[in-house]
């Protein structure tokens, strides 16, 4: 069975990942930003085995001879397009961008981001909650980007979000899971799917997140800014599998002391 298939949530021995009634073919979601060129992007996304890619909503650049729509490079039949509200610093902007994304006619899912600070790009908990409540009422399936605070995550679930997406560390930082305890609590307490989003920098970071039992991860910079994005995408696909299987397999207990792997009996005189 190929990794792509194994990674899929449809493998016989793992429940599928379902968000807002939609079945995802992989526990790995990937962004489409920051790639050197569209060919590498497409090759990397395919190597990642992901079936869901995030896209941003932006004004058409009328000075360009031809449009830059990513739809020229990504086939909506091949990938589920998840519009985000990246770049929005107010509740109003986030709602406006979410509506524009839905008007594209592809989906009523939105990756909600209400950024609270330009330097750290950390999410604004109050604003995210307010926007989530409005969008849920408008029938959106909201996947909410949030910090690693359990209380905010619980409130987002109460607000009707389809998934809660706590950060591992700041967007684009590559610092990995800075607070494992927080991610563990969020997964333990929420019923909706938990997707770790932002800050994962390499394969072991992804593995660590998945070993906490979260339902999936979303990556962008870690793949796009690797020296070899296609190979890193493949690494991430395997890391998601490895972390998921390790979680489901139930790891050995870590102990302070040692224990021999070979028999202590049967030694010679």
């Amino acid at each position: 069975m190929s990794p792509a298939t194994e990674a899929s949530a449809t493998r016989v021995d793992d429940a599928p990942l379902v968000i807002g009634g939609r079945r995802f073919t992989s526990r790995l979601l990937v962004g489409t930003g920051k790639y050197a060129d569209n060919e590498i992007m497409l090759e990397a996304i395919r190597a990642s085995g992901s079936g869901c890619v995030t896209v941003a909503v932006r004004r058409v650049d009328l000075d360009r001879s031809h449009t830059e729509s990513i739809l020229h490079h990504l086939d909506p039949e091949e990938f589920f397009l998840l519009p985000n509200t990246a770049g929005c610093y107010t509740v109003e902007d986030a709602i406006r961008y979410a509506r524009l994304g839905r008007a594209s006619g592809f989906t009523d899912f939105v990756k909600l981001e209400v950024i609270g600070d330009q330097e750290t790009l950390l999410p604004d908990p109050e604003g995210t909650l307010e926007a989530a409540r409005v969008l849920v009422a408008e029938g959106f399936k909201v996947m909410a980007y949030t910090n690693d605070d359990l209380i905010t995550a619980l409130r987002l679930e109460d607000a009707g979000c389809a998934a809660v997406m706590p950060l591992a560390s700041p967007i684009g930082s590559g610092l990995g899971v800075v607070n494992r305890w927080a991610i563990r609590q969020i997964k333990r307490r929420l019923e909706v799917p938990v997707i770790v989003d932002a800050g994962l920098g390499t394969a072991s970071d992804v593995c660590v997140a998945m070993e906490e039992g979260v339902d999936g991860v979303l990556l962008n910079t870690a793949i796009a800014h690797a020296d070899d994005p296609v190979r890193m995408a493949r690494a991430m696909r395997c890391a998601v599998e490895a972390g998921r299987d390790a979680f489901l397999a139930g790891r050995m207990p870590a102990r302070g002391g040692a224990a021999p792997s070979s028999p202590t009996h049967g030694m010679l005189d």
Partner: protein, 70 residues
């Protein structure tokens, strides 16, 4: 009599011909109607309206689409 009107398009003042529908405008810009979303005077315009809705003087129009993002 003038055969041009002023609109505010994607953040810039722009002079366009009179009697244009939104679809005419889109096509005149060499854009594919199915790949973009139109916001007109802060309201989203459904695609099936592109033919019927005229571009009027002073319209504030945003033509948006999907780009790479995380």
């Amino acid at each position: 009599m003038s055969d041009a009107i002023q609109i505010h398009l994607n953040g810039r003042d722009r002079e366009v011909a009179t009697d244009l529908s939104v679809r005419d405008l889109i096509l005149s810009l060499d854009l594919h109607p199915d790949l973009i979303v139109v916001e007109r005077n802060r309201g989203i315009l459904r695609r099936e309206m592109y033919d019927d809705v005229p571009v009027e003087p002073g319209d504030v129009i945003e033509l948006v689409h999907f780009v790479g993002g995380g």
